[in-house]
Amino acid sequence: MGAGSSFQIAAGVCGRWLVQKFTDVLDMLGFFTDCLSTMIRYRNRGRWLTTRAALQQIYFTGVQSLELICSIAILVGGLVVIQGTAQLTRVGSREGLATLLTAVIIREVGPLLTAVIVALRSGSAIAIEMGYMTVLREIESIEMQGIHPLHLLAVPRLVGVTVAVMCLLVFFNVVSIGGGFFAAWVLLDIPPWSLLNDLIRTLGGTDVMVGLVKALFFGVIISVVCLHQGFRAGEAMTDVPPRASRALVQCFIFSILVNVLVSAVFYL
């Protein structure tokens, strides 16, 4: 087999892989637009049911994650201060600590870590729940009641997860900054009010807005990807775990991609 034909085979494999990935992304975009269209078309139906489902989702994704978010946020804040101080001391400038906290936590780590926690906790649960409902024909039962399953099941989860992620991000940032301040006070004898003044000077409206924009995108990505994979489960129970696993991997990849894109747009 010549080098030319080997190259052709390799190119073919890569090409087919790219086309498959592109098709998957288009499928997900199509699913998202289906959710939006059912949300508008059936907006007068099932208000009580869908509102209750959305609130339940906010409670499960947001309120029940507070403890976990709080622990991780405090540790991350402390870690940034410890590492930041070590590096800044080397260059002889500890005044940049507040800037570091802003740049690292509020702009990048906060949104991304919040998304990771929500994807692991809520996203996997959503993918598995929808997968089993598909396999056990519960979706079919819903359809036979004249109810579009996307409107009853997908839309409340999409709204609930997105709202929860945005609220959790704010909580993460506040707790993380607080944790960082506390670590600086205890370890470095830097009073919190001094850091707070520096932070207020450094923190811009753009930083807050970028964080919320990222959280909005991450919430939509997590819910759409996990719902999409769950609804695509086949007829066997064994289809569900690989779908959930694939959903999590896709959540991480798309979240990181969007994170880079949004940061590039706003900060370059």
Binding site: R41, R45, G46, R47, W48, L49, E129, Y132, M133, L136, R137, E138, E140, S141, I142, E143, M144, Q145, G146, I147, H148, L152
Partner: protein, 251 residues
């Protein structure tokens, strides 16, 4: 004679290139009953699902109260399903929802009723099937017969114009079978619900149907209930099943 509630013309179905049945034709008026005896049984389930709009036929035409399958878009399809009751072997309840929410799902969604208001509407069927005191439990806490009755209650609560049943007595003991038989007859007489029942025991075909559709060897043959003789049909079905079992064991 008005527009048929359900009209099938030369319905055929092919699965992955393999033709399963063809030439199925029948018209059903309000209050009429059709029994479908299918060999093999899953052809009957497929026909029932075609009538319920869950599967599209690969040939022929089907219409519901004059609405043709080809002309129906998604919003109309979902409206149509509100008027069709479907219970087949694979019918299930939503596992993470209470019995009351399962049975009144359609009422709560389409009419924006609260749980309490929906329960008032569903009270008759829940009480009749002995489910009222279990209305706050999850389906997993009920017996298989209880779950099956809950599925029937869910379909009856929406007052369907067409009731499609497949293996109607699956998971039901004799007492519940009689309860169900009376309930189906009551709703048929009460609001003129048309009835299609697939995969019933041949001996019950005459009491359950005005007409019998025999789906065998890939073709449909419709007989009046009086013309239909269950004994030769049951014998030939048993023989076919034995032959099939012998072929599989030797293969």
């Amino acid at each position: 004679m008005g527009i048929p509630v359900l009209a099938c013309e030369q319905i055929e179905y092919t699965d992955q290139g393999r033709p399963l049945f063809a030439g199925v034709t029948f018209h059903l008026e309000a209050g009429e009953r059709l029994v479908v005896l299918a060999d093999p049984h899953h052809h009957g389930e497929i026909l029932i699902k075609i009538c319920a709009t869950l599967i599209s036929p690969t040939g022929g035409e089907i219409s519901w109260c004059g609405q043709s399958h080809d002309a129906i878009q998604d919003p109309e399809r979902y409206e149509l399903r509100r008027r069709i009751g479907l219970v087949y072997r694979g019918s299930s309840l939503i596992s993470n929802t209470t019995l009351l929410d399962n049975v009144t799902l359609g009422l709560q969604y389409h009419e924006n009723l609260s749980r309490e208001a929906a329960y008032e509407r569903a009270r008759v069927w829940l009480g009749r099937f002995g489910l009222a005191e279990h209305r706050f439990v999850r389906p997993a806490d009920l017996s298989p017969g209880g779950r099956r009755l809950a599925v029937y209650a869910r379909e009856f609560v929406k007052r369907p114009e067409i009731l499609l049943l497949e293996s109607p007595f699956f998971d039901l003991d004799e007492g519940y079978q009689n309860l169900l038989t009376d309930a189906v007859e009551e709703i048929r007489r009460g609001w003129g619900c048309a009835l299609v029942v697939a995969n019933l025991e041949p001996g019950r075909a005459k009491s359950w149907g005005d007409r019998v559709l025999i789906l065998q060897d890939g073709r449909g043959l419709t007989l009046g209930a009086r013309e239909f003789d269950p004994d030769p049909y049951a014998a030939s079905a048993r023989k076919r099943a034995e032959n099939l079992s012998r072929e599989r064991s030797t293969a």
